[in-house]
């Protein structure tokens, strides 16, 4: 079967500085794949390259077998890939309801329509209500997103990401800054909402990574040094060295 995401020999330079060197990554359909690595390893850059926020200096990225490297983020999104952000990135002055609804509109085919009343679209309304229910924010639907608590904003961030119904979901440190209880809630949420979809996740919390992922890739200095099941990664001497080396500093 065609992999959901395939990254082949991708490099990214900013001027003379090489951030990503010969990156190869393959994520199978329906797999939950975690990318881990020390700070500055290029995890967020990898996300930005795959989602189109940055375009690779060389190499090729495929989504469900089709080349997406060089496309704009919205073009990649329309092909079924949706991502969240490490720093909360919502529509601050709009209500929770409107935030999710905006993320539903393109996928339901309403695009740039200026001849339809947005409140009279039953499909949009139903999906928005469902997503709000899923992310436990129905009771906060009329609150401007900028006034939510941090944990609620993180949940809304996930809601916006999944609202379009994309097949491939990429979450960039979804539990960063959360308390233990909030993290557990968020992991359960992610597990439930990405059921039957492909998930790529960047995460620092190892309990989240080993609890959630089917496969793990370890990124160090812009290069993937190991890729495998959680057991294989735990036992991998190169990974141990990279992580111990990082901690010895």
């Amino acid at each position: 079967m065609t992999p959901a995401i395939e990254v082949r020999a991708v490099e990214k330079h900013f001027g003379n500085v090489s951030i990503i060197k010969d990156l190869n990554l393959s994520v199978a359909q329906g797999e939950r794949h975690a990318i881990i690595g020390p700070n500055g390893a290029g995890k967020s850059t990898t996300f930005n390259l795959i989602s189109g926020y940055l375009s690779p200096s060389s190499g090729e990225i495929r989504l469900n077998g089709n080349v997406i490297s060089g496309l704009r983020p919205f073009e990649i999104n329309r092909r079924g890939l949706s991502r969240s952000f490490q720093v909360t990135n919502v529509f601050a002055r709009m209500t929770v309801w409107e935030n999710v609804r905006c993320a539903v509109l393109w996928a339901t085919g309403h695009r740039y329509a200026f001849w339809k009343n947005v409140d009279d679209l039953p499909e949009v309304r139903r999906r928005t209500a469902e997503i709000l229910e899923d992310i436990h924010l129905s009771h906060r639907r009329d609150v401007p997103a900028g006034l939510l608590t941090y944990a609620e904003q993180r949940e809304l961030e996930i809601g916006i990401t999944i609202a379009g119904g994309a097949n491939v979901i990429m979450l960039d440190e979804p539990t960063a800054g959360m308390s233990h209880a909030e993290t557990e809630r968020a992991v359960a949420l992610i597990r439930r909402l990405t059921e039957g979809r492909t998930l790529v996740i960047v995460e620092h919390d190892m309990s989240v990574v080993f609890g959630l992922a089917d496969r793990i890739s370890v990124l160090v200095y812009g290069h993937i040094i190991a890729s495998g099941t959680p057991e294989e990664i735990r036992a991998n001497p190169k990974v141990k060295e990279a992580y111990l080396g990082e901690e010895a500093h």
């Binding site: 989602s51 189109g52 704009r72 983020p73 919205f74 999104n77 329309r78 949706s82 991502r83 952000f85 990135n89 919502v90 529509f91 601050a92 002055r93 709009m94 409107e98 609804r101 905006c102 993320a103 509109l105 393109w106 996928a107 309403h110 695009r111 740039y112 329509a113 200026f114 001849w115 339809k116 009343n117 947005v118 409140d119 009279d120 679209l121 309304r125 139903r126 209500a129 469902e130 709000l132 229910e133 129905s138 639907r141 609150v143 401007p144 006034l147 916006i160 990401t161 609202a163 379009g164």
Partner: protein
């Protein structure tokens, strides 16, 4: 999923309630527009109402950019002006060739004129938002403004191009000679345009415009190209500005370079900002106020622009939400029933604040009369009281009003803030304030 179904039906019930209130408001607006000239029937007020109507459409069109999409334009009058010129040229052609186009359709010609130019110029302009957009809009404004004086055959040079609105085919026996008929024509287009622009905010495009305003970067990751969204918003803004320009051409029976100049662009920004860009009705309030100020102040004082500047700075500094923002701040208090806690502090503050304002006005007028327009005599009238600008007593009174008013007013303003905090915290406890 029963709770989902429940919340969806809640929404349906809520939106039908909103619909009722929504249509009620428009009916009231329509009745007000019809009745207004029957109550204030003097020629002067008809002229004022006509100008206000044009300003309302223009300011609402500007707010499609500023308030809805977050685009700060310094050249919006370009579309107002081009709409006006399109209208004048078509009116003259209709009169000369006897085409069967009646006057009430001419504003649409203006709108199409504005739309066509917005479609032509907009794609490049809306590539970027923020400072880049603002700078390009300023440049385009200057470009079109200066070419209006160069391309004489199109823009008529300094004198502009005049027209005769009564020369078009008449319908229902309306010649559109009398101002009252022009007023009703404008009122009709105000209602139609305002409803259309409100409806636009309630469409998928309108919602995504807000999303682009709040966070264009994120919009790209929910499937939308912010460039296209900005371009469409820009085109709609150009269309409605063109309608306003077409109405102005009908009202004044002329289009000239002043229509598309920087002053006109500044005025619409001013009206929208003072009224409040965050609410749909904000620009309406702003257009009414600014037009009245323009008409009223110019006959009262030679330095009326100074007062405009002071008001603008005051709003930007102390009430960035504009008048609409100030009004809407009180909504949670009204709902929570705590408005009564702040009203007394307003009344207490009114007198010293008024004294301060009188002092400032007296100082400005005295200085202006003394230095700028000495030839107009030394007497300045304030609230019906004559003041001699050369008399030391006048200077003394002004100083006392400014200093004394400020000292007392500051205390009363602090009391407003305290009363406000108490009222707001109760409203918060009752769940009406987030």
């Amino acid at each position: 999923m029963t709770s989902t179904a429940a919340s969806a039906s809640d929404i349906a019930a809520k939106s039908s309630g909103q619909n009722l209130r929504f249509y009620g408001l428009w009916v009231i607006a329509a009745i007000a527009l019809v009745v207004l000239p029957l109550i204030f029937s003097s020629g002067g007020s008809l002229t004022s109402f006509s100008l206000i109507g044009i300003a309302i459409i223009f300011a609402l069109s500007y707010n499609i950019l500023l308030g809805e999409t977050g685009l700060l334009s310094f050249g919006h009058a370009v579309y107002y002006g081009l709409g006006g010129f399109a209208a004048v040229h078509v009116m003259n052609a209709v009169a000369a060739r006897g085409w069967p186009i009646p006057l009430p359709l001419i504003p649409l010609v203006g709108g199409i004129g504005g739309l066509v130019f917005a479609l032509l110029i907009g794609w490049v302009m809306t590539r970027r938002a923020g400072t880049v957009f603002a700078m390009i809009s300023l440049g385009i404004g200057e470009l079109v403004g200066s070419s209006s004086l160069i391309l004489r055959s199109v823009f008529g040079g300094e004198s502009g191009i005049s027209t005769d609105r009564t020369a078009l085919p008449h319908i229902f026996g309306w010649t559109f000679g009398p101002q009252i008929q022009v007023y009703y024509l404008i009122a009709f287009w105000v209602l139609v345009s305002a409803m259309a622009m409100y409806a636009l905010t309630r469409t998928p495009l309108g919602r995504i415009c807000n999303a682009v305003r709040d966070n264009p970067g994120r919009v790209e990751f929910i499937g939308y190209d912010p460039h296209v969204v900005r371009y469409l918003a820009y085109s709609f803004a150009g269309f409605f500005a063109g309608i306003a320009g077409g109405l102005a051409a009908i009202n004044f029976e002329i289009a000239n370079s002043a229509y598309l100049g920087a002053v006109q662009s500044g005025m619409v920004l001013f009206a929208t900002f003072i009224g409040g860009a965050s609410y749909f009705f904000g620009p309406i309030l702003g257009a009414i106020l600014v037009t009245y100020l323009q008409l009223g102040l110019t006959s009262l004082t030679s330095v009326w622009q100074l007062y405009f500047g002071i008001i603008f700075i005051g709003i930007v500094m102390f009430a960035p939400g504009g008048i609409a923002g100030l009004l809407m701040m009180h909504r949670p208090l009204i709902r929570a029933g705590t408005l009564g806690m702040v009203i007394p502090s307003y009344l207490v503050a009114a007198l010293p604040t008024l004294a301060l304002a009188c002092g400032v006005i007296l100082s400005i007028e005295t200085v202006a009369r003394y230095t700028v327009t000495g030839g107009e005599g030394n007497i300045v009238k304030l609230l019906g009281i004559p003041f001699n600008t050369t008399a030391p007593a006048t200077w003394g009174i002004a100083a006392v009003l400014v200093v004394g008013g400020f000292i007392v007013a500051r205390i009363t303003w602090r009391r407003i803030a305290e009363a406000w905090d108490r009222a707001a915290s109760i409203a918060r406890d009752r769940g009406y304030l987030a």
